[in-house]
Symmetry: C2
Subunit: 347 residues, 2 copies
Amino acid sequence: MISKEVKEDKVQLAHGAGGRKMDELIHFITQRIDLKTPKNGGYGLETLDDGAVVSLSTPYEVIISTDAHTIQPIFFPGGDIGRLAMTGTINDVAVMGAKPVAIALSMVIEEGFTFEKLDKILQSINAVSLEAGVPIITGDTKVMPAGTIDEIVITTTGIGLASRDRVVIDNKIEPGDQIIVSGTVGDHGIAILSHRVGLTFETELVSDLAPLNKMIEKVLEITTPKAMRDPTRGGLASTLNDFASMSNVGLVIDEDAIPIKPAVKAACEMLGFDPLHVSCEGKVVLAVEKEVADEVVSLLKKDRYGKDAAIIGEATADNNGRVVLETGIGGKRILQKPLGELIPRVC
Amino acid sequence: MISKEVKEDKVQLAHGAGGRKMDELIHFITQRIDLKTPKNGGYGLETLDDGAVVSLSTPYEVIISTDAHTIQPIFFPGGDIGRLAMTGTINDVAVMGAKPVAIALSMVIEEGFTFEKLDKILQSINAVSLEAGVPIITGDTKVMPAGTIDEIVITTTGIGLASRDRVVIDNKIEPGDQIIVSGTVGDHGIAILSHRVGLTFETELVSDLAPLNKMIEKVLEITTPKAMRDPTRGGLASTLNDFASMSNVGLVIDEDAIPIKPAVKAACEMLGFDPLHVSCEGKVVLAVEKEVADEVVSLLKKDRYGKDAAIIGEATADNNGRVVLETGIGGKRILQKPLGELIPRVC
């Protein structure tokens, strides 16, 4: 028997899109699974964070994060599904406050897929592995008959280590903490969509795909963020809403302070999207203590992947669980997660 | 540029089937990936075992194994894709000599898949989680447009812990060691195929899907196996060949000693399959010292999943890397891995 929490009989694309309908699907799944926390402590599914934590009887925790990558097209401006699969999972481990130490690589390939394309994808995977310093240590490969899977789906699972007191679960934001984003938002989703629909701009729109673990490690040397996440499906809006609800604070965000590339802004206006709902693949959002916020921003700016970093807002004691966007002309609006799908198969 | 080691331009179903052509695909993949071993020690992709080992600066090792499950039909006699996805990965961790402590669950679902079916699959997943005592601690869910994936693909990644000196990499078999199988072989593959083609037998053929971690833990209390693996794709023949080549010994196997259900034998004869090439999903093959072999078998027989356990052969100093099958009528033949696909999408 199907319980009441999903309104539909069938899974819709919107259920996978990182917005409020996605939350319904995740709720459907998680309420059917018992024993959400590892027996020896740690954090499990119940946190709904980017990964989970297995406690060992040592000062170290083992961090685990898994992600299936279904992007179409598999080669796109700024990268391919191999680079995406590696950076997505490395970043998910890194934003838990952990040092990624290993990747498990699972590929499901359509019969008839060319070895030439597989070769290119593996080169991208290997390049990220080398750049990020995270080895691929185990894997699995399945082949499905032609027509039963669209080219290739890659699931990567990342393993990381963090000292026990440094794990970043996104529930520790306090009023006054500053919200930082490491660069322009919406680049990835708009690059994929523009490529698909054949939009061209004077400036080429490319995905921001990047492994952020080394940049994040530098931040961890000076502070333990109160929350940290990479805004993928659902964009900055979903990340900020998760921060607000997990930490039970309000967030006030200055719309003008959010870095957005002019071409991304233009494409969003043309297509009717809110850039705050569009996915990034090489950005991190952090909540840090006010005292260290400027230092964190200047540290980020020194990194090739953080040069547009900016403080975009702060946490407040009122408006618990909500994100309030202060607009340029002095107005305010509640920033919600997108309801469902904006752009399918961007990750 | 594609190097010489694959003869074809395109991926074939046979490349995913667990036989010699699968070895070619795996070789294609692994030679494109650097840094195969975790920096701090352990065992990585280069072992080509069921999982990998991350060393911590403690007496414990972290074991990781990942598997994509693409079985069709997703509901079949003896189980469903949810039960398969859990048992497959739990067993892969357990045969590394580790205690599975957590599962990461990644699901890719076709748009239009019913919540009723998803509900059943999640119930199966949860039931195995409870039976095996292994919590699901993180996950990811993607939805792909109708027609771009056949129903659902589930990738599970298992994390386990083992004391450093008890990890079972399958390269330690020595002449005289005994080879044990925990029960009848070929049940899973033949159950799926019979169901697909509408074959019926007096005895129903059901998959042997089972989480083996608790049974294996009992064995680990009395000995550390020299090699241990669950024979899935490629069947017992592939597992024995991997044992022989990884440990650089010969294996002499008594064909009559291998437990096979009469209905499986009959179906194999009818369909022209060698049951030793057909996948199991609830069996383990072990190599142990001669002195403890009988004790291991009687221990296995006491478990609900091991009641047909038997010694089927032993390791020899000659015939390095080869598996010699002694047939009932006094003959001998080399038992090879299957070349390619017998039955697609059984796991």
